[in-house]
């Protein structure tokens, strides 16, 4: 094991803005390097899911195209825009935290959570509409993949709310503020966003 892997969070100096002059060294990788293990591992697992999906899609292209046509592309686009906007505000949160502007950072974190909640509401609405339209988890292969991929992503996003909670907790207490932890949490949130962009492309866009 490397020392870097074992190193815990390096907290910023209490009450001072992180970054320059805080004693918290700038690192080549944002956040804890350990979080990137999760990013890499989740990327590999989702790549495996996508590969299985694409393999079955090529085997049943007619069915998949027909089923895809029943999805509401506007709701899918709205989901994507909400998450991309949330990523933008997460970025603003990190930048503000780095500059020591904790109040704007806190505001950005709250807006990120609000946009994420909007995504969840939109996703639940879409699921309800589909089920009422007779397209459930067991309707056909496409919808099995659809509910599985959007469901497992939904779960990741729920964990993202815990992560935003950590950021807010960090930013609210001058003694707790750590640039590294804010960056680590942001890395997770961006990963979940990236996964959604890929899922959206595969389920809604690819023909």
């Amino acid at each position: 094991m490397t020392g870097a892997a074992q190193a815990g969070p390096r907290p910023g100096v209490a009450g001072q803005p992180p970054g320059k002059g805080t004693g918290e060294p700038a690192t080549a990788i944002p956040g804890q390097p350990d979080m990137w293990v999760l990013v890499l591992f989740e990327a590999l697992v989702f790549t495996a899911y996508f590969a299985v999906y694409l393999f079955h899609r090529s085997a049943h292209s007619e069915l998949f195209l027909r089923s895809q046509a029943t999805l509401n592309p506007w709701l899918g686009t709205l989901d994507t825009l909400l998450l991309l906007a949330s990523s933008l505000f997460m970025l603003r949160c990190v930048q503000a935290a780095r500059a020591g502007a904790f109040r704007p950072a806190l505001t950005s974190a709250c807006i990120t959570a609000f946009l994420g909640a909007g995504f969840l509401a939109s996703k639940i609405t879409e699921w309800v509409l589909l089920v009422h339209g007779g397209h459930g988890f067991t309707s056909n292969e496409f919808f099995a993949y659809y509910f599985f991929l959007t469901g497992i992503h939904f779960l990741h996003l729920l964990i993202g709310f815990v992560v935003i909670g950590v950021i807010i907790y960090q930013l609210r207490g001058p003694a707790r503020r750590s640039r590294e932890l804010v960056e680590t949490c942001a890395t997770y949130w961006h990963t979940v966003d990236l996964l959604w962009v890929l899922i959206f492309s595969l389920l809604y866009v690819v023909r």
Partner: protein, 279 residues
């Protein structure tokens, strides 16, 4: 820290000579003998588990969930001896899971977090052997020991066994989350943070198997590409990681209550750590 305690009670090191002599020395003098016992028990158990569940009983990878009554009855008949011998071995060694759970709970006990983490994990994983292993063994043994039974009843046992084994992952999900939380909150550097995050990946695979209750065929069934094969790869990496990391933890253990020291990368230091003596 109480590092000096270990130094004062342990002789310099094991004697040169026969392997048996060295083992006897460690048994009597190694201050980490209980930890090493638990670790070796873990390694031995997983080896037995793999051999029994894969080549001996053919219970893993699981056979098809969509088989007819006649096919299930044939499977019980075909693997009759393997099922009986294999699961007899599992019944004999099932208690080996206890030292493993104790070692994992010890890792949390050594962290700078509340004892509640270790104890709650211990309670949860004490229960986990039942749905996670023993129910399948009992049910498939019953099927194999009564080959003349109605095929429909054998099919019921078959479904019950594999669904209970594959589908009851709540305990493992919560256990992984408890361990993850302990690692991420810990300040004693007992286990690396990346392994905390890997616990999250493992916990999520426990959710992925849930569709196995619904689907009889395809990638989400109990032997499907997503529900079984991809999950098994994640579980294999996770298990390999925690066995290696627990070994490193024992090597680094100083029986204090502060951060665990790093092991210097030289043969003498490693030998000393193995022998439970301080540098």
């Amino acid at each position: 820290m109480s590092r000096t305690i270990a130094e004062s009670v342990t002789p310099p090191g094991p004697p040169a000579g026969s392997r048996l002599g060295r083992i006897a020395w460690h048994w009597r003098n190694n201050s980490k003998r209980e930890l090493w016992f638990a670790w070796y028990t873990t390694v031995v158990f997983y080896n037995i588990f793999f051999i029994v569940f894969f080549p001996v009983t053919h219970a893993q990878p699981p056979p098809h969930p969509y088989w007819s009554d006649a096919q299930v009855a044939y499977w019980f008949n075909h693997d009759h001896d393997g099922l009986i011998i294999g699961f007899a071995i599992i019944f004999a060694v099932a208690a080996m899971t206890a030292p493993q759970n104790a070692l994992i709970a010890y890792s949390m006990r050594r962290m700078s977090v509340s004892r509640a983490f270790g104890y709650s994990y211990l309670v949860m994983y004490s229960l986990s052997a039942l749905p996670g292993m023993l129910l399948l063994c009992v049910v498939l043994s019953v099927g194999a020991l009564r080959p003349g039974r109605d095929p429909a009843q054998l099919h019921w046992l078959y479904d019950f066994g594999f669904l209970s084994f594959t589908g009851t992952m709540g305990i493992f999900l919560l256990g992984s989350l408890v361990w993850m939380l302990a690692i991420l909150l810990d300040k004693n550097r007992v286990l690396p943070k990346w392994f905390g995050y890997l616990n999250l990946c493992n916990a999520l695979t426990e959710v992925v198997v849930a569709p196995a209750w619904i689907f009889h065929r395809g990638v989400f069934s109990w032997n499907g590409l997503i529900s079984w094969w991809i999950n098994m790869v994640v579980f294999g990496i996770y298990t390999g990681a925690f066995i290696t990391l627990l070994r490193n933890m024992i090597l680094r253990e100083d029986f204090g209550d502060g951060p665990l020291p790093d092991i210097k990368k030289n043969p003498e230091a490693t030998a000393s750590a193995l022998a439970g003596t301080a540098q």
